[in-house]
Symmetry: C2
Subunit: 271 residues, 2 copies
DNA sequence: GTCCCGCGTTCCACTCACCGGTACGCTGTT
DNA sequence: AACAGCGTACCGGTGAGTGGAACGCGGGAC
């Protein structure tokens, strides 16, 4: 649980009450989710409206455009996004299937971008949304390259079954991860969502072996075969990686535990 | 200035110290920009790190991925983005020039999406960034459809000169705005940035005449002519508009008392 | 019609979270 | 060596923030 005995903690508890599926939440619902007293929520939410983080509608509160704007200033995902966009674009144009860009946060994938046309397969992923590592192509790439300690943690923890095809046997997952490192791509066959196939490749930094992100192409069973797109996905991913390196902007994904270290040299470059 | 005598105000002052161009800001810089005492900034920034809104690096603080994620939950721009993306995609594929999606906030444009390939013209716009209304194609569309009272406000206020071609004469701008309403498109010829041309069309709600957003195509003088793309831009914009309307009326509540969905649409209109 | 429940709002006296001046240690520069 | 600017740590006073209680309202049950 978060610290609810500080103003900031309460404010964030309220903001984080909104899941990606919520649009408008009434005051009472916020009270329920946060566990805070009614009066408090009323006041703090009012303050948040004043600060342009919430909008007040006839039926409740919703996260406002001010928050959207602020979020897009986050330097890491922003620069990643800006550099990657042309490559994602190319990839989409070559495949005409849904293209994802994702980074790792803890033991989940966070989707930084999702682009697709009118015919895109119905996938549960959303920009800014999350998925487990073990059952998505992007997740498996990020996990494979993340290093052994995280792998062990994930392999040890229970592997949630999402579909009949989800890999829940640690041994089998481990073998797949080895294969991913070897080939530089990961596949997913209806492991997170029935009817969806996926290929993903890692965006690697040059100086170290850390994965910065991963790129994938997703399509529906039937018309879509992952294998033919391996080269395209890999090309896009390495393209992003080398462009990032070339720009000199060293990106370090936010990691709750091992945060804060590596970014040292970048500071002066921007100025 | 914001209210700096409340915790929340201070926290937001710190977060908003980051402009779209900043990546990492040292503590001292935050102190300078916010005008808050050093000790206070240190403490509040520390709290923000604890709440995953800031990352602490070797050289200072930066906005974290948690904030990015939170911002993408903002319902209005999120649903706009999701609905619009396929249309923007089409538009890009037809033109192979930079495509923008923008909404109005006060007297400025906020860019919700920007997609482009490797050849994109160097434009100052960024996703989540802002621009004045009077000197961009998107801005002129939004202003033209925004209603007379806002127009007067903008026409009265000083029209900042950005380039030699910026329209700073209120009369001339007003005439252009009338033309925009008449034709349903706006042009920009090096008015915000030297060397850039632009066409934009409005995304209109069906039930009322409110503008929800605007879409544009941008290219460099020389290879790019705005006129041939008028139809494509207009088609994309109306496509987004009617999809929004259609979705708004068709989405049915998943749970019994979810009146919230009905309001999502109204919410969009409100902006 | 009446009752009643749940919602959003307002009020107010207590108190603890927040405040910010002060001081310290460090690192480069003059 | 003296200095200037930075990040960090401490700590007593106090007012911003607290949350329980009470109110008005609308709508569903009966």
């Amino acid at each position: 649980m978060d610290e609810l005995d500080t103003v900031l903690g309460k404010a964030l508890a309220i903001l984080r009450s909104f899941t990606p599926n919520d649009t408008v939440l009434p005051l009472a619902e916020l009270v329920r989710r946060t566990g805070l007293p009614k009066g408090t929520v009323h006041r703090v939410a009012g303050d948040l409206v004043g600060h342009r983080l919430l909008d007040k509608t006839a039926t409740g509160y919703r996260l406002s455009g001010g928050l959207f704007e602020l979020g897009l200033r986050a330097s890491v995902e922003r620069s990643l996004l800006e550099v990657a966009m042309p490559f994602l674009q190319d990839l989409y144009e070559r495949t005409h299937e849904t293209v994802h860009l994702g980074v790792r946060d803890g033991d989940e994938v966070v989707y930084v971008a999702k682009i697709g046309g009118h015919r895109q397969a119905a996938s549960p992923s959303r920009t800014g949304g999350r998925m487990p590592l073990h059952c998505t192509a992007i997740g498996k790439v990020l996990l494979a390259y993340a290093g052994p300690e995280l792998q062990q943690e994930v392999l040890a923890g229970p592997l949630e079954r999402r579909t009949p095809h989800t890999i829940v046997a640690p041994g089998r997952l481990r073998r797949q991860l080895d294969g991913v490192l070897e080939k530089g791509v990961a596949f997913e066959r209806e492991e997170s969502t029935a009817g969806l196939l996926c290929v993903a490749a890692p965006v690697l930094g040059t100086d170290d072996t850390a994965v910065l992100a991963a790129i994938s192409v997703t399509g529906p069973v039937g018309r879509f075969k992952p294998e033919p797109h391996v080269d395209a996905v890999r090309a896009a991913a390495t393209g992003v990686g080398s462009t990032l390196a070339w720009r000199g902007s060293l990106i370090r994904p936010a990691d709750p535990r091992a945060a804060s270290v590596a970014v040292a040299r970048q500071g002066l470059a921007q100025r």
